[in-house]
Each structure stands twice: as C-alpha cells, then as structure tokens.
Symmetry: C2
Subunit: 558 residues, 2 copies
C-alpha cells in the first residue's frame, strides 16, 4: 500500500486538470438507494471512476458525461446497492459447500439415504463430515441417534453439525475415537445427550460437548481453506451480496483472506469479528486493523458467545423452556467473564459483538453494556447478535446505548413453530421483535447467519416485511406487527449494515464518493409481491466498479 | 496491492512516451557493486525512478539525464549496495534494545552491578528480563548461579538469556515460579545445570530446559512488539543494513511486520524463515507468500534447529567436548524427526534453513539433504545456518547439492578462545572454515546473528578478510588461511545474500532494474585498513530510492 503515494503524484503531474479517463457509465437503469434519512432515493445512471468509486449519480434529466471509456446499458433493469449481510460465517459457507449438506432433507430417512450415498461416492475420505440437519424440520420430535448413523455408515467416523451449529451428531466410530462413554461427564458449557434412562451417550453433543468429537477431526489444510473461501465468494456474489460481517474469524480464516487480498482474488468486502479475544489480539494487535485492499478487509472487533440456540435448548432463558420444565439453557460465560472479555476488547477500541439468543442472555449483555459504557465512552457501536428472544421490559434498553440489534429475518420463518414450543405463548411478545426494537430507536441490521440459513437476501427481505415463509405461511404473517417496511428492510441490508461495521461513507449507499458496489436485478424490489420478490434473479453483481457476476442474459451493449 | 493495476494504466494513458517525472540522480559518488561474476564493478552516479528502482547506472563519462526532480551530490563519497544480513533475529534485536543488555559486561561483578542498577531504575517491572551475558568473556570458568542473582535482586523474578540464546540464568524467585527443584528432571532436548555433587538446580537452564522458566514470563503485548520492531529497523538502517533474513519468525512477529507494511512504516526488507513448520503453515499457508509491499516482505521458508551452541556445550559433536569428556552435546531432533520436518516444508516448496553448529549436526543435515534432494528436485537452495564446526571430510558435501553456508564472521573472533577449549586443536581444521567451504564451491553468505553479536557489518567485513578481532588479535589472524577476499566478503554481505533468499534481480546489486538500496559511507571499503574499516560511518541509508538515515554531516546540495 505504501506505493500508492507515487501514482497519486503521477496523476497530478501528468494529467493536470484533464478529465480522468477510464470512466464507466452504467445507464438506463431504475436505481434505488437509501438516503441519509433512511428514505428511498431513485436514479437512472451511475458514473464510476478508475478507482471504482462513484463519481456521479444521474437523474433522467442529467447530461451524460462525454468522455466515457466503457458503457453498460441497463436496459431499464433495477439496480440496488450491493447487499450487506451483517451476520454470517464466510468460511462456514465455503466449507458447507464442500462437505455433505443435509439442510434440504425433510426426514431422517431422507438424510440417512443422502449420507449413505455421499459415503459411497467418497470412499477416500477418512471421515464423513457434514452439516445442516434439523430434527424439528424432520418432525422427529427427538434427536437422532448414533445407531441411526451406524445403520448407514459404520466403517468410518461420521460427524454432522446441526443446522444451527450448536449441536453435533456422531456415529459409534466417531464416539470411540472421542473415547466417549457412559463414564464421560458433561463438560462445562455443554451437554451430552444420553439414551433415555441411561448414561449412555445417544450420539448428539450440544455446544461445548461437541469438542469431545470435533477435536478429533482431521485438520484442514490451507489449500482447503483457500478453496472454501473461493467457493464462499462465488456463492455470496451470485446472491448479490457484496459485503459481509464475518462472525467468528480465526487467524487461519484471516490468513486466507489476506492471501486472497495479496494475490488479487479478494472480491467481497469482509468486516471481520475475531473468534474470541485471543484471535482478536493475534489478528489486530493493538487495535482494529486499517481498511485493507481498497476497503475490502478490516478486523473490526471480536465476536463473543454468551449462550447457545433455541433448537438445541442451549439458549439461556429467564424461565425454563416451555417444552422442557426445569431447563433454562445455559450461559457459556459467567457475568464477570463476559465483562472481562468485553473490557479487554473495548480497552483497545475493538468493537464488541455478543451472541445472545435467550431473554436471559440478552438482558445480561445489555446489563454489561450499561455497566461498561461509562468506562469506554465514545462511538463504540456495541452489537448484540441475534437478539432473538428479548423480555419486552428490556427492549427499550437497546436504544439507550445505541446497541446495534443484528438480526436474521429468515430465522423467524424457520423457527416459528419450534419457538412456539420452546417459549410457549407468553414469551412470544419479545421474540424476533424487529419492529419493536427499531421503533424503540435501536439501529437494526439484517443478515442470514449463512450457512445456518441460505444467504439469499431476497428471501430475507420478503420475510422482513411479511413475517411469512416461502410457502406464504402463516396466512397474514406470524405476529405481523413485528414486520418492518420495505424501506427499513432494505436499509437494514445495505446502509445500516455499513454503519454497524464502521463502513459508512465507504460503501452501502449508491452516492458520490462511495465504492461502486451494486446489483442489477430483474424485478422491482419495492413493488413486487413477496412471492415474486423471492424469485428475484441477480443479473450482475459489481464490487468497486468491477463486475464479478454476469448471468447469461442480454445485459447491455458491452 | 490489487490497486496497482489502475496507476500503471494511468501512466500509460496520461504520460504516453513522455520521460517519467520525479527521477532522482545521486551523483559524484565512488560507487561499487558486485557484478554477475562476483567481481567488483564501479560507477559514479545512479538514476532512480519513481518506483524506487535503479533506472540507470552512470560512469564518469556518461551524460547525466536532463529531466531530474531531485539531485543528491555525493561529494565524492563511497557508495556500496545496502547490506544484506543473512542471519539475524529482527524482533530479538528490538527487544534486546528495550530490555537489560549485559553483552558489554566484562565480569560477573560488573554484570551484577548493572542488574542491580537496572532493577532500581525500573521498580514497576514485575520481572527483570535481559540478555547478553557470557561467562567465557567474564573469565568465570563456570556458569553463574541463582544465588549470585539473589544477591542483587531478590524481590522479583529475574531471567537473563545467555549471549547465544541457548541458555538462561534465573534467580530463586524465578525458579520458585517455575516450580523447579532437585526433583525436576531434565526435559528432552535440554539440561538443568545443577550444583556440584547435588541435584539442586544452580540457576542456569540450557536449551529446552529454559522453557521451565521462560514459559512464566509475562506475555508481550502487540504494542511492545511493534515498538521493538520499530527499534530494530532504526538499529539496522543506522548500520547500513537494508535487507535481512529473519531466522525464526513467529506469527506474532509476522503480524507486526504486516502492520508496519499496511501502515506504511515497513522500511527494511525482510526474508522471513518461520519458527518451525507450525508457524510456517500459519504464515505461508499452501506455500511461500508472494513478495509483499514492493519486495519488502516475504515468507521464504522455515528455520529448524538441530542442535545448540558451543558456548553452552549444546552443539552436537562427533567426539566429546575437549573440555568436558563424555559430553558430545545433543541433537534437538532425531534423524527421522529432522527428515519429516524438512519434507513437510519442501513438499510445499518452502525453503529449508537448518541451524547446525557441531560437526555431528552439520553431517546429519548434509546427509538429510542428500537423501531428500532426489525427492524434491529443482531450485531448493537448502541452507545450513552457522555451519560452525564441520568435519573436513564433510566440507565438499556442501557444494554437491549447492547447500548455502550461512555463516557469521564475528562469531569466529568472539568464539576463538572458547572454541579452542571446547574443540581442542585437532578439530579446528573445519572450524569457521569460510574459505574452504567457498572454495569447495558452496554458496557462502554472511550475517551477524544479531542480537547475539552486534549487527555492524563493517566489523563483519573486517573479520572476514583478516580473521582478527577489534583489537587486531591475534596478530596475523586466527587460522588466516580461512580468511576470504574483500570482494567475496562484500558479495556474501550483498548479492549472495539476495540469492540465498530468492531475491536476486530484486535487490542486492546496484544495477539497472533492481531496487535502489544503497549506503553512503565515509571511507573506501576496498582500500581502508581493517582497523579503519571498523570505524566506517554510515552517512546515508537508502531503501527503494527513499533515504531513511542521514547523518548530521554536510551531504550534498539537497
């Protein structure tokens, strides 16, 4: 980067006041972006300079610049800012794409068939590794067992992560490698599911208990990581996502991102949140990194976990689970551990993002922020990730310190029935309460939590303003009062996401001076029906004025 | 770095064939460099372009270019290529400069006084940490003891590394923290020195045993590392060193170097050799990194340790020490461990540099290279670091596979008397045998091993062609047949050092197209007497066409 001084000098010396060349004009489009007040603004043309920054935003009446080197005819198509997904796991997306994916299985039998087929197709793999199962979706009413895995793969260890990443399913070969048996105690912060009435591990391991098996998985090679990252970038760009908050970046992940940046194949923008304070210090050192590779990569701060997930009953609730009396889930950190970790990060100006799903967990993080805020003043942008179940009495506390609520619309549509069982009717008041939290004045940002859910942002947008799933269920929407407007949903997936990652002014809006990150789509995001919007086709995805995705459709005279 | 494409484009677009601006002319100098055949070549002027590359090398008769933006009058001073130190420890240099330095103490009493003074001056430090002691230089004839440290500092733990880094000296407070007592066994690869006739640890811990204490040192903060790195750069540039081989780079070191590169304060060129294969994989991933920051940083490969040092009798000898019958020192790795680590690195094209000091260690590494070379063909540039004591029968084996002998001239002058005691007359034949190894046809490169020795390259050059120390001792030089010519010494400190780090063509020689790394000095490196050469003053140090050091002397009309 230190070389940049010279070329800048050159521009001054060589080009004087002459109009800069190599400008690109994207014209004849129906463009929308979010303005400073969070309202929709429209335009019909974009001028992009050599550095991939927006030089001018044109209205129908505006004169088009004369000196243009490259012109794209949008043919009247719709243009929106590049989508910013404020909560996903970049490497997880890539690795999921490279391993067995059970997220589309509708029953245990279907999953077993898919596992058997995959094992047969990959005889060379020492382990069968995969993810995405969901016993709720299977209507199983219980966790699957090791025996049910042994029935299809007995010759090799099998390890399959639950869709939410908070539980894992092992076969007997894997449990043998982990030396797990009736004598094995539950580790702190985790639980070994046991066969009814016995101490015999049944094959599913929750939260910290997963390590008993996962620690025996063959280590990933750097080549595997780079391949996974490449795959993740493809998937994200194809979905119109140009920037992400990577929740739980390890030093190995970071090194892959840097290799991509150094070699010139870093395409998406990554706002990284380190996997714990150790990784945070190793990656960032004395503080957040600078923006690297033309605003493509920055370590913003740290991701901490206070509890687990609802599906596996790992979320920490104030009252016990409606469908499991006496079990309130568990905090993964004590109150002082949480405060110490948050202080350690805040001390060096790292941004703090805490995973909190249960109402007890959300209250605990809010309390910690209230205690720490006076000690660490200034623009901190504390984040709560998920904020899924919040005691209505706590909702106003988000706004008080400008705590960012980082939420995932599609979780609501997937979890709906499970959440009703886990929480019972009384607690649904503050569940997935997007609108109440936003109305209370807290910054609201949206993401997908991919690979837990599909990264498709149009499904997220549709869910956000309808509270209905892909099948349009339930009629009228689930607790529809918590739906948000299309404008607010779009802001939560673009400009607000940039602000939540200290990137405002760099990207997130299609205005002069910001990076030219945008998506050309085939239908109107403001007027299409929800069902129609879910079918949106991404025709082109541009990041920093470079086109990375181009669907095989006519798209201009270039 | 991916942004560079644009500016390049600009040059083409804006400037057409016009002469590039912002050229620098360094004129009226007596310049020397090494040519392709390793001979001296002279010149009187250098033209440097915007990118800091040498555009033209001028002779007295050559026309000077008309369009020059910046001119430096060398006033007839001498210019040599920037010195490349092929073996040192960058962070070690910086940290040594920030902690207690005992390398200048001539007696135990003097050291004790300095330690007491330092402890009194730094009451806030929880530990007193330092390095540089040498019981040989003190004429102690034995290792110092914990009691001798307790006598000056008893209130806090004290940990002092020996000058060669292969032993540490602790006081009783430090040994208590390490839970070390007569019951503690020697760890593998290390030795606890014990009071005569007892099992009571006397206070000195050799090689792997050092960890018993060192593992309790307070962890360095990233700020400390960055400060140390800044300090190290200053010291190196002040000595005329513009590029180094960093032997034993940790991920924390690497992150400091990258922070400097990202923030624009990386000044020296670092060819990094990772501290073991774990750090190698974490830093480099699937292979060596690209050259980063305009050839300022690259991970070349891995540094492995096969044995310790002569001073602490950790060097691995074929026959036992002349002054310690029955003790042959010890290998830190078994033969198969060494081969496995070398294979792991070579498999992914990482360069392998192995520390070998004793004749047994050198023979073992040469044997491993001979076995592995057919499996890993191509341009590998295997390196042996130090190669201090080589069985004359093994010398020709260096050349056979082009094994680079990375040696440190000043070690010979410092170790001379100690080496005679350790080895006895018979084994001196192959000790510090620079000339024999080079004449046998092996690439010879020089370094300082700083902070073990001063990084001053002029002391190294003088020692290289005289085999005499700063006091001119011994008269006529120690085993003077092993002295090398001034030309070969200069090559070993410049062009050969670049080749040993895969940097030939990038830097190391003052020829068209290479980086403008050079040093302006106040006397003639080819004609000055050795005593005079040791007094050389570095007036200016330039890296990549940028001047980083400028002595307070008249130096041109700029």
């Amino acid at each position: 980067m230190i070389r940049l001084a010279f070329p800048m000098l050159l521009i001054a010396l060589c080009c004087g006041g002459a109009p800069a060349r190599a400008d690109t004009l994207v014209d004849n489009i129906q463009g929308i972006t979010i303005d400073a007040d969070g309202d929709i603004e429209t335009f019909t043309g974009l001028v992009i300079d050599d550095d991939g920054q927006i030089k001018d935003v044109l209205d129908r009446r505006d004169k088009r610049p004369r000196e243009i080197d490259f012109q794209v005819d949008g043919e009247g198509r719709f243009v929106i800012p590049g989508i910013i997904d404020s909560h996903l796991h970049v490497m997880g997306i890539g690795l999921a794409a490279l391993t067995l994916d059970l997220s589309d299985t509708a029953s245990l039998e279907e999953a077993q068939a898919k596992i058997a087929e995959y094992a047969a197709a990959n005889p060379e793999r020492r382990w069968i590794v995969g993810r995405g199962w969901n016993q709720e979706k299977w209507g199983l009413g219980r966790f699957p067992t090791a025996a049910e895995l042994d029935a299809v793969v007995a010759d090799r260890p099998v390890w399959l992560e639950r869709v939410d990443g908070h539980a894992g399913w092992a076969n007997s070969a894997a449990m043998r490698l982990g030396n797990v048996d009736e004598a094995t105690p539950d580790p702190s912060g985790g639980r070994i599911v046991r066969a009814a009435g016995t101490r015999q591990p049944s094959g599913v391991f929750i939260d910290a208990a997963s390590e008993l098996i996962a620690s025996h998985l063959p280590a990933l090679r750097p080549e595997d990581r780079d391949l996974a990252f490449q795959k993740a970038q493809e998937i994200l760009l194809r979905n119109g996502i140009t920037a992400v908050a990577d929740m739980g970046t390890t030093i190995e992940d970071w090194q892959s991102y840097r290799r991509a940046g150094d070699a010139g194949w870093l395409k998406i923008r990554i706002m990284a949140y380190a996997a714990g304070t150790g990784a945070m210090e190793l990656i960032g050192g004395p503080g957040p990194t600078p923006w690297l590779y033309d605003d493509k990569l920055r370590l913003n701060g740290v991701k901490l976990y206070l509890d687990g997930a609802l599906g596996s009953r790992g979320a920490w609730l104030k009252q016990s689970y409606a469908d499991d009396p006496g079990n309130t889930g568990l905090p993964l950190l004590t109150g002082s551990q949480l405060r110490n970790l948050m202080s350690r990060a805040a001390l060096d100006k790292f941004q703090v993002a805490v995973h909190a799903i249960g109402d007890a967990a959300n209250a605990e993080v809010l309390g910690a922020i209230e205690e720490l805020a006076p000690t660490y003043p200034g623009d901190r942008r504390w984040r709560i990730e998920h904020g899924q179940v919040v005691d209505p009495a706590d909702i106003s506390r988000f706004a008080r310190h400008g705590v960012i609520a980082s939420m995932q619309p599609v979780h609501q549509t997937s979890d709906r029935q499970m959440a009703e069982q886990r929480l019972g009717p009384a607690r649904l008041e503050g569940a997935y309460a997007w609108r109440s939290i936003a109305e209370a004045g807290a910054p609201l940002v949206f993401g997908s939590d991919a690979p837990v859910e599909s990264p498709d942002p149009f499904a997220g947008l549709a869910a956000a303003f309808t509270r209905r799933d892909a099948q349009g269920q339930p009629f009228g929407g689930w607790r529809p009062a918590e739906a948000v407007s299309r404008e607010r949903a779009l802001a939560a997936f673009t400009s607000s996401g940039a602000h939540a990652g200290f990137a405002e002014g760099r990207f997130g809006r299609l205005v002069e001076g910001e990076r030219a990150d945008f998506v050309i789509i085939d239908r109107d995001p403001l007027l299409s029906t929800p069902e129609d919007l879910r079918g949106t086709k991404v025709i082109e995805t541009w990041v920093g004025g470079q086109r990375f995705v181009q669907r095989d459709m006519p798209s201009g005279n270039d």
